[in-house]
């Protein structure tokens, strides 16, 4: 009996140690090689990625005031977007490698995991060039003094190390569709997945919050409450590529009804992108495999 307890205790310690190691963030930012970014190009990456839609200070009209504070109620608790302006409460002092590690790996410069409310599982495919451009653009914006408001989460989600295990289990390389023959479809796949992170809402999740890759863009319950996020797969969405591009520009559906919910923010961003970007996303949506 005593022996069994000793073995059990040893096993628990070993398991704890293994979990501790498995949940650890990568210790140092990966070296980031490449030319300095271009802020004008970064504005496009910023819009396509929807950074401002979550990080802009709520309750005011300037979409480039990135003081954070927007609250997101979820089953895990309430998340609040942090300040990502180039001020001392934001990303002042960050290197481009720090930004790359935050955006692609979900790890802060001081080595803590970010919660996946920050869609790094999608952004992980962002190219070095786009990240460098985004970095240059973010640094060109006005600093904002708003302090970080923190999250209100329920136990055990308060343990950030848990996110490390979640990442190991559920963050996957790439996205569902294989490289297509049409470069416009591939460009659209990059825009829709690596930048616009459409799948974060349009793809259903399991109880652990993992995206169901067998049902990519097949629609999901609305995380913000009532209703459903619509399916974009061709079996469910009867829109033409031109309909989709027009919707992303004007917010008008083929029935000339107006967009609602979070898509309003997405359209405000996409309306400012070149027509070619909207057409590429439309081409990708039309190329999705049916459910």
């Amino acid at each position: 009996m005593r022996r069994a307890v000793r073995v059990g205790a040893a096993a628990a310690v070993a398991l704890g140690a293994a979990l501790w190691c498995a949940s650890a963030p990568a210790t140092a930012p990966a070296p980031f090689a490449g030319p300095p970014g271009d802020a004008a190009q970064g504005a496009r990456i910023f819009l396509a990625s929807g950074c401002g839609s979550c990080h802009a200070t709520p309750g005011q009209d300037d979409p480039l005031r990135l003081g954070g504070g927007m609250a997101f109620a979820t089953p895990f608790g309430t998340f609040r977007a942090p300040n990502i302006s180039p001020g001392s409460e934001g990303i002042a002092g960050w290197s481009v490698a720090d930004l790359a590690r935050a955006v692609r790996e979900g790890v802060s410069p001081d080595g803590r995991h970010y919660y996946p409310a920050f869609p790094y599982a999608s952004y992980r495919a962002m190219t070095d060039g786009d990240l460098a451009d985004l970095y240059a653009y973010l640094l060109s914006l006005p600093p904002d003094p708003a302090p970080d408001l923190g999250h209100d989460l329920a136990f055990p989600f308060t343990i950030r190390r848990g996110i490390g295990l979640w990442k190991r289990a559920f963050v996957h390389e790439g996205w569902v569709m294989a490289e297509a023959a049409d470069p416009e479809v591939n460009r659209g796949a990059y825009l829709a997945n690596a930048l616009a992170h459409c799948g974060e809402c349009h793809t259903p999740r399991n109880a652990a919050g993992e995206l169901d890759r067998g049902a990519w863009m097949a629609g999901a319950p609305n995380p913000a409450g009532r209703g459903r996020i619509p399916a974009l797969t061709p079996d469910a969405l009867g829109w033409s590529a031109s309909d989709i591009a027009f919707y992303l520009e004007t917010g008008l559906t083929p029935a000339y009804d107006s967009a609602g919910g979070h898509m309003v923010a997405v359209i405000a961003n996409f309306a400012q992108l070149p027509e070619a970007d909207r057409r590429a996303v439309a081409a990708y949506i039309k190329a999705l495999p049916p459910r």
């Binding site: 619509p230 609602g260 919910g261």
Partner: protein
């Protein structure tokens, strides 16, 4: 033919139920108004997208219709008890009745893009496309807060 009294009573009940289900004229009026907007937006949208050839007379008529509808005072079309919780066949959020002044302000905010649409319609498809964004923005402002999700 002999008709029993219970049968008559049953028929009367059914007729009564049918009357109770009838959509109130205010609800019909506001839904017709939104349909009028949508149909005319469709005419402008078709030209902006190049699906339909640009026709200045048709475009201006459509834009004028949108601007005209936006001038209607909608306060009378939202009587108490016509929200989505109280009756079938509407997506009107109960919140409308908690914030009527805001609803009316948002509705009136559609008048400026309505006017801009008229000016754009006379110019050409490119201008119409730009004006549509403004019009859609005015629709969204209200739908976000005051229309139930699909």
């Amino acid at each position: 033919m002999k008709v029993s009294i219970p049968a008559i009573a049953a028929l009367a009940l059914i007729a009564g139920a049918a009357t109770a289900q009838e959509i109130r004229p205010e609800v019909k009026a506001r839904q017709g108004q939104f349909q009028t907007l949508s149909i005319n937006l469709g005419i402008l949208g078709g030209m902006a997208r190049g699906d339909v050839a640009y026709d200045a007379v048709r475009a201006e008529a459509a834009a004028r219709s949108i601007a005209g509808v936006s001038m209607v005072d909608i306060a009378a079309l939202f009587p108490e008890g016509t929200d989505a919780m109280s009756i079938e066949g509407t997506r009107a959020e109960p919140a409308i009745w908690d914030n009527l002044p805001d609803v009316l302000t948002k509705w009136q905010a559609g008048r400026a893009p309505g006017g801009a649409g008229e000016a754009a319609a006379a110019k050409g498809p490119q201008d119409i496309g730009a004006a549509l964004g403004g019009l859609a923005g005015a629709c969204k402002a209200c739908h976000d807060a005051y229309r139930t999700p699909n």
